[in-house]
């Protein structure tokens, strides 16, 4: 077994080699809004690494005649990935790549010893960097096209030395072209590579292009099957139309929902306001007359977009960077002496990863606690000293439901509720509203399945009104 991690530098090098510059793989800020909450490794990158590990121990030369690969779970940057042989026969090998004992990539290779290295002279450099196309599902029916093939042999040898020594460059270029097909062309920006079946055969003609054609489109789940081909190769690529980040309600749409003055007089500080529930909270409060300041950690562009949307419609909003995990960062200092919030809304959250069934992960619990307990407390203390008396701490319905794979999250939120009660006792006059909220439509809950998430607007508005009126405080 061989292990490694994939870092951003590895990803950028692979993007340059393959031409697949989809931000899901190379831009952690954009990728944080994907359903995986982080940048993930290209499936083909993981495949080529697995093949490289396998070829390392093979007597050369080897001729690979067919590959089946299924990319079943994401590999996030920094994950420890293990390449593990499953079966090995004289003409076929099966490998699995695993993260935390879950299979992420299944690989089956058909091969035979080769009498020659069978290297062709295909080498044309790097593909040009382009922006990924956004292909609508309705436009994918019978979509077809041609992709030029590229390979920079030096870069290929740096990333996959054993593969580059054993496999003809044309075939490596064809494997690389399949990730460019999915990530940049069809489906493009909102895509997910699912599986590859590819069959190579000897052919004297080197054609530096690969054709593709969508042969089956399942619009229920956004699954596209594509035939790929070149004179020496045929194959099938399966890809998903990945759901885009969750758009939230527009500010302009709230004027019929919110009374223009129901939150007037509030100076509202929203921690984690650049998207999701924080974004909705900011818009609702501002539409009701509050003066809003929202914080962001990495989503500066998202935060500025929200502020621009509010202020261009006459609302009062601003944004500022703040990292709740940064122990050296003092919220009092960040705000300055002239602006003190009357109300605080704490929506900061990490990616809400599910745990393993029935197994309590200390490290996952610690991640949640750093946001929901320690980061919350560290941020709040200086504001309490400045007179803050009204706080919204969104807890979770999972405390009551306690799904077997959400123990870490629910327990951390329970600890947060406990901290809230402690602070209320320690600071008379401080009221922390801590509703147990249901699953709502945000980036965190984006799903391939329709209709699972509730609209956050009416749910949040009810709690904002309760808090504004100080009625029925928990």
């Amino acid at each position: 077994m061989t292990t490694r991690t994939f870092g951003l530098t590895d990803q950028l090098a692979f993007a340059e080699l393959s031409g697949d510059y989809n931000p899901l793989h190379i831009d952690p800020v954009v990728a944080r809004r994907s359903m995986f909450g982080a940048a993930v490794v290209h499936g083909i990158h993981s495949l080529l690494w697995g093949l490289d590990v396998w070829l390392r121990d093979r007597p050369l030369p080897v001729s690979v005649s067919a590959i089946h690969a299924a990319f079943t779970r994401p590999i996030r940057l920094g994950d420890v990935v293990t390449c593990s042989p499953v079966t090995e026969r004289s003409d076929q090998a099966q490998l699995h790549l695993l993260v935390d004992q879950s299979v992420t990539t299944k690989i089956k290779v058909n091969w035979h010893p080769s009498s020659s290295r069978d290297l062709d002279l295909f080498a044309v450099g790097f593909p040009q960097r382009q922006e990924p196309r956004v292909l609508a599902m309705r436009d994918a029916e019978n979509a077809s096209g041609t992709l030029p093939l590229y390979l920079n042999p030096q870069a290929s040898a740096r990333l996959f030395p054993h593969l580059a020594a054993a496999m003809p460059p044309l075939r490596v270029a064809q494997l690389l072209a399949t990730t460019r097909l999915v990530g940049m062309e069809c489906p493009g920006l909102y895509s997910l590579y699912s599986s590859l079946d590819i069959l190579f055969r000897a052919d004297a003609n080197i054609t530096p292009v690969m054709t593709y054609r969508v042969t089956k489109l399942d619009t229920r789940y956004g699954v596209a099957m594509m035939d790929i081909g070149s004179p020496n190769m045929t194959g099938v690529v399966t890809a998903f139309f990945r759901p885009p980040p969750q758009d939230q309600v527009s500010y302009g749409a709230l004027h019929d929902t919110v009374n223009r003055s129901e939150f007037a007089g509030q100076r509202a500080l929203i921690i984690g306001g650049s998207r999701g529930l924080g974004e909705v909270t900011a818009k609702l409060l501002s539409a009701g007359g509050a003066e809003v300041r929202l914080t962001y950690h990495r989503g500066a562009a998202d935060a500025r977009r929200i502020v621009a949307e509010i202020t261009s419609a006459g609302g009062h909003a601003g944004c500022l960077p703040f990292d709740v995990l940064d122990c050296a960062s003092n919220m009092g200092g960040v705000l300055g002496p002239e602006w003190t919030p009357t109300h605080l809304y704490y929506l900061a959250s990490p990616f809400i990863a599910r745990g393993k069934n029935g197994v309590f992960s200390g490290s996952l619990f610690e991640t949640f606690c750093n946001y929901y307990v320690l980061g919350f407390h560290r941020m709040l203390e200086p504001l309490i000293r400045r007179g803050l008396q009204r706080v919204l701490y969104p807890s979770t319905a999972f405390i009551d439901e306690l799904p077997p794979d959400m123990g870490e999250y629910a327990t951390a939120k329970m600890a947060g509720e406990g901290l809230c009660r402690f602070l209320e006792k320690a600071h008379p006059g401080l009221i922390i509203h801590k509703p147990r909220l249901p699953r709502m439509a945000t980036d965190q809950t984006v799903s391939f399945m329709p209709g699972e998430n509730r609209d956050p607007v009416p749910i949040l508005l009810e709690h904002l009104r309760t808090m504004a009126n100080d009625h029925a405080l928990c």
């Binding site: 359903m35 299979v103 997910l192 789940y221 069934n357 077997p404």
Partner: protein
């Protein structure tokens, strides 16, 4: 082979986990690798194995193996 046994084979293959033992209560909450992407993979594999096609409404209601069985068992009777 009963419907749940055939279904168990599909689950074992999709999750590459021969230790899976299905009961009607088996659900995403009880199996960490069963996310929405896995649901799509399961549904496509079940359709291929059972020679049928789920409606979008049926898929949206799948919360456990019981919900799958409620669609599949009438087909085999």
């Amino acid at each position: 082979m009963t419907t749940i046994e055939k279904l168990q084979n599909v689950f074992q293959d999709v999750f590459d986990d021969p230790s899976i033992r299905l009961t009607p209560e088996f659900s995403p909450s009880f199996y960490g690798d069963w996310d929405s992407l896995a649901t799509v993979r399961l549904v496509l594999s079940i359709e291929s194995e059972f020679g049928m096609r789920f409606t979008t409404d049926q898929v949206a209601k799948i919360k456990s193996v019981r919900d799958m069985l409620s669609v599949l068992e009438p087909l085999s009777s």
